[in-house]
Symmetry: C2
Subunit: 712 residues, 2 copies
């Protein structure tokens, strides 16, 4: 239960004559001014008197109705201060402070019978959130959004960490460039991704990370995306002006609104320290507390799976057979089983044994259910039924075996994008899970959406993901969604929605690889919205190990994979490599076994987007700390100050470091594991290899254990 | 259980060199010839050597693939004869003969790697059915249909009984005109109907009834519409050529096909007698036997309802309150109840009492569940939840009361067109019905479809209706769907799909009225596909009775309303008027109480589309017969020959006739009820008033009862 300290102070509540209002962040560093010019509302934002957002217009264009863009008069303003502390059910912090100054502007359109639009601004120390509110009002109950015209007018040609605007996928590689270069780079950046729908105009996605030439870090995203399409950003490259681009539906509309609701929050996180961007809790604070009465059944998960082998050359397949043109009424006993089918009883039992031996909570199994023979690319509706196992997957036997081992099986629901089919069968699918002991599901949305014409990031799908999370909660099921719209902090409200993919993750390391800098950008972009099921832990990075003809490789050192368990926050962490590979490196594997998945506290020690990230975290309810550090393609020296440790105590730190000769491309498996004594005054300078990392675990220890260890 | 006599004789099976093939109907009257010219397949049809369909091309245009329109070679033909008798679970006949000669043409496209298309023709005595079959084949597993190009090249400028082509509604009034006049009449015929999407090109809907100048009756429709969009008909008015126009989906595609399936049957029913068109069982015969193992729980229903009062001036409302802008999370206890809300405990109990007293099986209640305050016209997704009653509708109390009376409550699921919402909640809605003793549901699809961009008659919705029927069967629930795609005989396969509306029914009598000829056209059009929940039985036809200012009236005499229970076939028949109105005319009401809803046999005695229909039916398992006769706006004399009665026996006929001075517009409630003796040699000439009808019930009777009655 969270203890809430609420200090709400109403500062003002009056009908204003003035057409301008300014509020400041609690620490005074940020200022936000709202104004109206010729009936058009606008806002601007400064940080330590430096322009973050220049005067930018606000409002919405409606379909077949007068717009919410102009003709406004200020009818009321309201200022207040809010300050509380709350405890997430799981997360990076045991306690989060939600402290902001609020300005609520009520606008009316006299020429439109007094139609009302409200804008709510919340200014935190870490940034600004604002949203449009559509109060219930006489004469306006429903409208359709043609476009939202919120602008973010930047102060200069900032460096941007961006992916192309797209209605259906966020699985692009990041491009780092000045805003002004985006037009030239867009075509190259728009690499092939399944079921992509690149935006035809110049647009990029959020969370968008920016850095000004004078060192200001700015992150633009949204919070609490509910019953509204995702926001992408048009770019006017002449004026460095971004503007909202909502994802349309099948008929080109951009949102169906019943008054008495509001838009998601538009968020602008700002600091002159990159680490403070990572430490921001603004997006979580702008989400609502959990909608569930009982959350006791929701628990972070560390898991393994029948998964990576599906990506390795010559290894396993999702499909049971090599047949094509199968249907749900296919008699599978007529098909010849493929010797490569991964989800067999034998293979799953092997994984359950491994999980039980090494303390994993669960085993994911993909390819267990009928339909995989031609599941992709046909825009087919009845691809999967989510309840019928392949002939070689004995659900009852595996349920019994898993229970005997104290390990859970993790369900897999690939929808193939056929969401109407999934919704139709959802209750039966969840009942099946309840009946067979599953309490979590990895869901997938690979492919063009059905209902046809809808997009992964449109309002209909946004509502779908939330429907699944809520309905899953009715069955006490936790969700790990892949290919869904990128997160916006909704895991605060729906904490059984443990994690999402929604970015380029480890699977792409098997398909050409991820740039070494990729995971130094993710924390500043994709992870701003919520946890990612990145599926780290690949020890065997060079694919020629599996197939001498393969030139593919995971573009990290082994140790960098360990660091991910700390730098890529998630309450759901996979040890994604094959069990046999972990057995080849048991000393390194020990870190994965030890590392926590839930935290009391988090310290961002060093960070620069595109270059490096160093993070320390304290395990939930334990005197254990874990540190991860990653770098891009360049070697560097990590500087770690252990002053986050309680003073006075000495602990044992186990340091997993790249070998001196290590590098992602030549020698990824060179590493050292050494133990040291540390306390709050310790400092460490540690070499990190090109594409490498550093992982440290810190534990309390007996005198006996400490004997002979040297101090850091 | 049906007894099946199967006499399948394979006549031929060879690789043909000839490019033409002709088959004949079992009675030799119909001939169908298939041929290929320059790689293009075509067919023609004659009846007693008169042209029904002139040489007409066949085939499909595919998206992003070579077409199935030309480049064909004949690779195989197969002829056979089939003859069986089968028994529908309910219907117009106890026993149906399925007798046809079949020709199966296999076509291949050498230039497309031997791609194969098959066309199956079945020629019955009552007409032709053919379909495209897409066999599983190497190299073609999936395709998208851009358009089907099946032609129906008519022999002349026939009189047509038509409604405008429309993707979303079939609730148009019929226009009768030569084909050549359709272009001039289309605009006028395209009256306002909710959520309509008239086809932009010149098109009409099926079932299309035609009559040639030389007296040939032709009906064009389709059978077994599954996993395919509905077919409407483009009209080339210069050449009297109709061609298929499939209903598109949200992105303009017209069908997603996985090979190993087939199109629905295209049907052409032909006769020189109008009564034989009505007697055709071709469409039923082309549907598959029932898909259910147990059908014992499926039973025809005669019902009343809290319904007609919703259409009467100043009477009841669906909505509980006059509020607007409600949501599913609305606290209804906060709203002031409207005194006009129809679905109250008191009103429903009154109906249950009435139903029990007069032998009705069920009481429909509309407006029982939350959401009606602003359910229509907003393209809103979460309109209804199908499980939450209004505060003044006590589900448990009414369940108990209904059970004590031996009457069922009929559920109502209005979807408002928000089908994604309905599917999402369907299992919960059906569980609720099971829990509360409901075994049938009237479903409604009033409004624009969600998924947005989909149409009522597109492939996605076609699959939806079938999904609902099948899923309902899992819960032993019977379906009565309104505003769904018009039927195509699927009630043979899914007999719990008891009836549909899918045309302009009685509700329109409350909104301007239906032309007196309307119900003389329905049997030749809408009813060709299956039973209609027309909701007849309106005794109080003049609305000034309710409101002196109302000039509205139902455009029939009272007796015509009785005749509908026979002329408009349905296993689901409503007595739609207010109970109090039935109590004012107890002698006429006796016919509604007596009339059967399931039949051993049916005799079409007289018929001319647009003018009159006279039908006699024998009640299922009883020596009782019922006759109905209706006329258009013109008075006429019905000629009834009772030779369908078993010879030798004498029965009592109760004749419900229009009064001599009756007419729909001046004196609709003038009628007589007289009893006579009849036997197989009896004949009756009976005056029918303008917009009037005739209803006769025939029963076995004791000598005592017969005493004093004169012979007809």
């Amino acid at each position: 239960m969270s203890k809430i300290l609420c200090l709400s102070i109403m500062i003002g509540f009056w009908s204003a004559i003035a057409s301008g209002q300014t509020i400041h962040s609690p620490d005074g560093k940020l200022s936000m001014s709202f104004g109206i010019d010729e009936g058009k509302p606008h806002y601007k934002l400064t940080y330590k008197d430096r322009e973050v957002i220049k005067t930018s217009t606000m409002g919405l264009e409606l379909k077949d109705q007068p717009s919410f863009l102009d003709g406004f008069q200020l009818s009321e303003t309201e200022e207040s201060t809010f300050d509380e502390n709350w405890e997430p059910h799981w997360g990076q912090y045991k306690n989060i402070r939600n402290h902001y100054n609020e300005l609520v502007i009520t606008l009316s359109q006299e020429s439109q019978m007094g139609r009302v639009l409200r804008i709510r601004f919340r200014l935190f120390n870490d940034g600004l959130g604002f949203r449009y509110e559509f109060p219930r009002q006489e004469g306006l109950s429903y409208f359709i959004i043609k476009e939202e015209h919120t602008e973010f007018h930047l102060a200069g040609d900032h460096k941007a960490f961006w992916i192309p605007g797209d209605y259906d996928t966020n699985e692009y590689a990041f491009t780092t460039s000045p805003l002004s270069s985006i037009p030239d780079l867009m075509e190259e950046a728009t690499i092939d991704v399944h079921a992509q729908t690149p935006i035809q105009s110049l647009a990029v996605q959020t969370p968008l990370m920016l850095k000004s030439k004078d060192g200001l870090y700015i992150n633009i995203h949204e919070a609490a995306l509910i019953d509204y399409p995702a926001m992408q950003l048009n770019l006017d490259v002449q004026k460095f002006r971004l503007s909202a681009h909502l994802v349309p539906d099948a008929v080109g509309n951009k949102g169906y609104i019943q008054t008495g609701t509001h838009s998601p929050w538009r968020t602008i996180i700002v600091s002159d320290k990159a680490t403070e961007i990572l430490a921001s809790t603004l997006i979580l604070n702008l989400n609502e507390p959990t909608a569930y009465e009982d959350v006791s059944w929701i628990k972070p998960i560390k898991y393994i799976g029948v998964w990576w082998e599906l990506f390795l050359p010559g290894r396993s397949t999702w499909a049971y057979s090599d047949a094509t043109n199968v249907s749900l009424d296919q008699d599978y006993s007529e098909l010849e089983p493929s010797p490569r089918h991964g989800a067999t009883v034998e293979n799953v039992k092997k994984h359950l044994d491994f999980a039980a031996e090494h303390g994993f909570d669960a085993v994911l199994v993909e390819g267990w259910n009928i339909g995989w023979e031609d599941w992709f690319g046909q825009w087919k509706e009845d691809v999967f039924d989510f309840v019928t196992p392949y002939p070689d997957f004995d659900v009852e036997a595996l349920q019994e075996y898993a229970e005997s081992k104290g390990v859970k099986l993790m369900m897999h629901h690939e929808t193939s994008g056929s969401v109407s089919n999934y919704e139709r069968r959802l209750d039966r699918a969840f009942e099946f899970m309840n009946d067979h002991g599953y309490n979590s599901v990895k869901s997938g949305y690979v492919g063009k959406i059905i209902p046809r014409g809808e997009h992964h990031d449109g309002q209909w799908m946004v509502n779908h993901y939330i429907h699944v999370a809520r309905r899953a909660a009715d069955y006490k099921i936790m969700i790990n969604s892949h290919e869904a719209v990128r997160p916006t902090g909704l895991h605060r409200t729906f904490p059984n929605w443990l994690a999402q993919e929604s970015a380029r993750g480890t699977e792409f390391e098997a398909m050409g690889g991820l740039a070494p800098e990729h995971t130094t950008i993710l924390p500043f972009t994709r992870l701003m919205g919520g946890p990612m099921d990145y599926t780290p832990g690949i020890f065997q990075t060079d694919f020629s190990y599996y197939d001498e003809n393969s030139t593919n490789r995971v573009k990290t050192t082994l140790v960098k994979q360990l660091a991910y368990y700390v730098t890529i926050y998630s309450p759901l962490q996979m040890a994604a490599d094959l069990p046999e590979n972990y057995m080849r490196f048991p000393d390194a594997f020990q870190f994965i076994k030890d590392v926590a998945v839930d935290w009391d506290d988090t310290h961002h020690l060093e960070a620069e987007p595109g270059d490096f990230v160093t993070t320390a975290r304290k395990a939930k309810g334990k005197n254990e700390w874990f540190i991860g550090s990653v770098t891009d393609e360049n070697a560097r020296q990590a500087s770690i100050n252990f002053d986050f440790l309680p003073s006075g105590n000495t602990y044992i730190a186990t340091v997993y470091a790249d070998g001196k000769d290590a590098s992602w491309d030549k020698n990824p498996q060179s590493y050292t594991v050494n133990k040291f004594l540390v306390n709050a005054t310790s400092k460490l300078k540690q070499h990190i290899a090109p594409g490498g990392g550093l992982a440290i675990s810190i534990k309390e220890a007996s005198k006996e254990e400490k004997k002979g260890l040297r101090k850091l």
